[in-house]
């Protein structure tokens, strides 16, 4: 997951900033690990979008792997 991009076109916009989301390199962490991934975020406030399929798919898989380390 460390070098992956999960960027995809989305209709979601940041309501607070009235901005379309943009592909951004961010760091997500869990337990003692950090991953650099590309996700859609609001360019102004940084609100990060995690789509459902990512949360219940790859992300869950990595969480489970890390929990057994």
């Amino acid at each position: 997951m460390s070098q992956f991009s999960f960027v995809e076109a989305t209709d979601w916009q940041c309501a607070a900033c009235n901005q379309p989301l943009e592909a951004t390199k961010v760091q997500v962490t869990y337990l003692k690990s950090a991953f650099h991934v590309e996700l859609m975020t609001c360019p102004k406030c940084g609100f990060t979008l995690i789509p459902e399929d990512l949360a219940v798919g790859k992300m869950l898989e990595v969480e489970q792997l890390l929990e057994d380390k």
Binding site: D11, W12, Q13, C14, A15, A16, L21, V26, Q27, V28, T29, Y30, F35, C45, G46, F47, T48, L49, I50, E52, A55, V56, M59, L60, V62, E63, Q64, L65, E67, D68, K69
Partner: protein, 766 residues
Amino acid sequence: MNQIQLRELESKCIQEEYPFCSAACPIHVDVRAFMASLAKGDTRGARRVLDRTMPFPEILGRICDQPCRSQCKRVEIDAPLAIGRLEQFCVGATNTVIKLPKLPSKGGKFAILGAGLSGMTAALDLSRKGRPATIFTSSASPGGSLQQLEESILPGKVFAHAQEMLAHYGVEIQTSINMNQENITALVHEYDAVYCDLDDLDQSLLPFAPNTVDAITLATDQAGCFAGGGKTAEGSFSPVYQAEQGRRAALSIERFIQNVSMTAQREKEGACATRMYTSIEGIAPTAEITPGDEPAGYTAEEAKNEAGRCIQCECLECVKQCVYLQEYKEYPKPWIRKIFNSQTIVQGTRAANKMINACSLCGQCSVICPNDFPVAEVCRSSRVDLVETGHMPPSPHEFALEDMEFSLSDYCALVRHQPGTTRSSYVFYPGCQLSGSNPEAVKQTYAFLRDTLGGGVGLLLGCCGIPAHWAGRDQLFAETMEAFTKDVERLGNPTVITACTSCLSVFKEFVPNMNTVSLWNILDKVDLPTQTTKPARALTLHDPCTTREQSELRASVRSLCEKLKIEVVEHDFTGETTDCCGYGGLMQYANRKLGEKAVARKAERSELDGLAYCAMCRDNLAAHGRPVAHLLDYLFATTEDDPLSRTNPGYSRRHENRARLKSDLLANLWQEETIERPAHTAIKIQLNAEVEQLLNNRLILLEDLQKVIHHAENSGSYLLNPNNGHRLAKYRPIRVTYWVKYEPIEEGFLVHNGYSHRMILPEDQK
């Protein structure tokens, strides 16, 4: 768990013990595998099994005296397998399939005096091990007394074949030797060790004092001189015993040369006892198949059918019933080895974590196991170990522990004397799950107990702490138990009446001095309510797994059913062998799919609709789609609808029910107000049944949705889809980030979806 404990536990599991036939076989031929191959029509596969263990299959396969036959489990059903006849068929129909390897020479020189089957076997085994052996016999060719057998039983070609085999492994055979005293003495001195085959030597010429042969090692009073073969202890001539003696001698000679213990670990050489257990329940009797043409022996078809009668003896009694062991494709011996390896790993993946956390700790397997293998104890202590070493993964138990925390919080927990009194002879303890599942039953049961029992009946709402115990959180569990004990003390130590059998099992084990009694025992002793109802049809009774050791309680439930005139049909897995519904041990949280399999197993034990007296059993069986009522539904007519049709309330409703039960009871009985719940709980949420089910499976509570929407609407921080006006918001209360897709409606919000993750996003990293 250390190595010694591991071995002790491993030895309780007997699945790897010899089946009865192999144990009785002096050379432990894998008869079970032999039969399995023949039953498939794989005669070469069967021959492979013989080649692997038998020294001379061409000989032994034809004349084996089959001591295994009398031990065949089929003896108890109908007739034992015709093992000898099947061996004859196999060696008659095949040639050698595998030749065992010959190890490089390790030196030394060894003499075999006498060329009977034991001498030939000793020579063969020694040569295979790289110990050059020479056979000396006064006869013109090897075979000893076997040569006297008729050609129809043992054709001459088999001796030629045996000689070829011996030559292949480098055995030298010296025939027509004058075996006089002088020559024998010379051989004993010349060779590093000798073996005397008593089947093919003049007994007056033996180079050692008779009667000094050690039964275990075959050593004699002459160092380096071994002897065996001849007649068995019972005085008969047994070919397979001959082979075993030769094999035993070769092993002794190898140990003698290496100068290691001659006796250590030889218990399983030769015919031995086995601890194997095999159930013959449900196995239909079948007649032994006799060959149509007796002298010619079996045809291929006959052999296949006779071998097909083998029941493939093994134990697996626990695995047959347990969905958990089936899921992980293990029986306890390799299972515990996996756990041990996972627990002792220094770095890398703890591969057994999921397995450790998925067991329901229900103890059914231990009751079924002939040796009471303690799967549940091993799992629970492994969980404690994971917690104490900081390796317990957060996700399997966190939801259940937070649910427990909520049940124990001021929103749900309550300790009171009966309204208008200041002392309690009894206190009713419904438990967290009944309060969540069926608050109306709690209210009515409490009213009944107040009316029926004298001396004041207090009320204690809370959680016994069993989720913490199951999760291996021993400290949290101890704290919970201590707080509970103090609550009971504060009420003046009344007798605690529990509606939940899990609570009762916990109290009996951890606060044995406290007066506790099951609600069912109490109800069985008093006059029943007047407004009871009963189902229109017969039901099957589902005992909860925590009643496994509570026979008195189970009897009270049956007695109550009788008084209520409920027709109960017992199925085979009630009482001591009852199944868990998937909640036990927090199985359904650690492995949801496995929890579903567990409840499916429980439901499918009977085709009838069910009657439960554990709220979790009731709700899980209902979620599985099986009509099921709770016994209290009939005692107190808690619902106007058919109790069998009540659906599973799910986690969210159970959560809300507990809080509402407290506020209702406080208001109605004690005229008190409950502490106010947080602002987010005022948010009105609508969602369809499909979304509700999805969120339930994802362990997302209504209150989690409320927290997210409350946060989003107050901060204005959410995503918006301009095409349809849907909003997508997230919030991380503690360790989980919840996402909710919703839209505002006239009254509150309509939720379309929800999901969660544990990874921390940049904006939540502090």
